[in-house]
């Protein structure tokens, strides 16, 4: 796929990675890791894993999301996502961050000031999809079209080009884990938009509506809950 990745590409070509990570383009590491050829090779996903779960963002997987068996199953997942979008924008289910979320979704002017402050984007080879605005913009376009009254009528103005399908949704979920919520982006934003918060809210949607989440690293060593085995979910047993 071309390096000039557009926001709408997030929903296209489900069988290809949206991008690839080239170690030569990453920020150089200090010795003894300064020579790429001396670095240990990245672990690749097994054939079995690739067959059972979605891996089409950048070749890495943070959430093991399933591949739908058929169109009906894909529709079920998509409907769950849309339902989650609406809950995210509701006072009943998300009063805790509703005002900052709505301000961040509605008033970003797309100046890209946040990109230069993002260490993931800077160190990650300035890959378009790692910009703080990439996931936010894809999410914003989905919210504008599918979760707001009259969204379908104003969609042409707001960018109606992001397809609502399992490819978009799973890539968005993965992208929410290409950010460590440091919020340097929010700190430098002239408007006060918080792309870190948008990422946080995308994770919340997946966790609280679709039951898909990635526990903090320290919890991953705990026993895996049998009920969630194979769904990429872990449970902390106390």
């Amino acid at each position: 796929m071309s390096e000039k990745i557009r926001v709408k590409d997030i929903g296209k070509n489900p069988d290809q990675n949206l991008t690839t990570v080239d170690p030569a383009k990453l920020i150089p590491l200090p010795p003894p890791y300064d020579k790429i050829e001396d670095q240990p090779e990245w672990k690749k996903l097994s054939e079995g894993a690739l067959e059972s779960m979605v891996c089409n963002l950048d070749g890495f997987v943070a959430l093991s999301l399933p591949k739908p068996e058929n169109k009906k199953e894909e529709k079920k997942y998509v409907d769950q996502f849309v339902e989650g979008l609406k809950k995210l924008l509701s006072k009943e289910n998300n009063w805790t961050f509703l005002q900052p979320l709505m301000l961040s979704l509605e008033y970003c002017v797309g100046c890209q000031t946040c990109s230069d402050a993002c260490h993931i984007y800077e160190a990650g080879g300035e890959n378009e999809i790692y910009r703080p605005t990439y996931r936010s913009e894809a999410f914003r376009r989905l919210v504008n079209r599918y979760a707001k009254p009259g969204g379908k009528f104003t969609a042409a103005l707001n960018g109606a080009d992001v397809d609502l399908n399992w490819t978009t949704i799973t890539r968005l979920a993965e992208l929410a884990y290409r950010c460590n919520l440091c919020r340097r982006c929010a700190q430098v934003c002239p408007i006060g938009v918080d792309n870190g918060l948008i990422t946080h809210e995308i994770r919340k949607l997946f966790s609280q509506e679709l039951g898909r989440y990635r526990p903090p690293a320290r919890c991953r060593f705990f026993h895996r809950d049998e009920r969630y085995r194979g769904k990429g979910q872990h449970r902390i047993h106390r």
Binding site: K91, T96, N158, P190
Partner: protein
Amino acid sequence: MSASVVILLLYFLLAIMVVTFTVRTIRIAKYPVHLRWELSPVPHEKGRGAYGGSYLEEFEWWKKPREKSLVNELIYMFKEIVFLKALWEHNRKMWYFSFPFHFGLYILFVMAVVVVLGGISGLLNLPQPGLGLLRTGAPLLAGTGYILGGIGALGLFVGRLFSQRLKPVTTPASFINLALLLTFFISGVYAVAVVSDFPHEMAVVVQNLITVNLSGEIAAPLAIHLIVAGVFLAYLPFTQMMHFVAKYFTYHEVRWDDEPLEVGGKMEAEIQELLQQTVTWAAPHLGADGKKNWVDIATASPSEEIE
């Protein structure tokens, strides 16, 4: 051009602006209280704002009076509003166009206030000190505002058209916004250049608007400019250009709102009410069955949910 057409059209467009502007502002203001997710610096933190500190550093801070600096906050706001400090520091390339664009708009706002006040004082037969100065100064002020704004808007438009950095997040609405603004600035420059006694003509329009006087004629270049300005003002509250209002909330109610919860206070009462709402998130680990509220879910033992 007949004044009646222009005046009636302006009433209609200004009514749309006032209603949508008010509705949208109230909607932002009425969102429920939210949790604080700390982000530094908070300039009103007296003695600590400069290094990103907060009152939370203080031992048993709740027993001590809060020390705030309104002056620090006002200085920060002045630099940000007038000079776009954040953009200057973090996105210099865009500042070169964004600053003249915004500064041009500020000049025009000042000019509009002066013209409206001049119109009102003329109606009330009040003495108008400095009228002569205004007559010569207003076209200069307006011309500067239109030219600065136009240069900025053109630069931002071209940037969005060609910059690989800006293109991905640019929507058709962004181009429409800038094109409309560009039309406004160009029509303004033209009106200032060709309409003789521009400030007087503007004051007459203001007086006609106030007194609902539909008689007379308005010079065509000025009439066109006023209609473009009206269309822009009516369109503005529907767009992200309302960010000048949103920015008040993103700074004062989100970034800088570090008021702690006071037991028995207004915030606690509001939160207690919000916690009574029923949660309907569907993921099984939450255990939201459509009956449980926030308190029920937050206080449930995770081990109980598993069983």
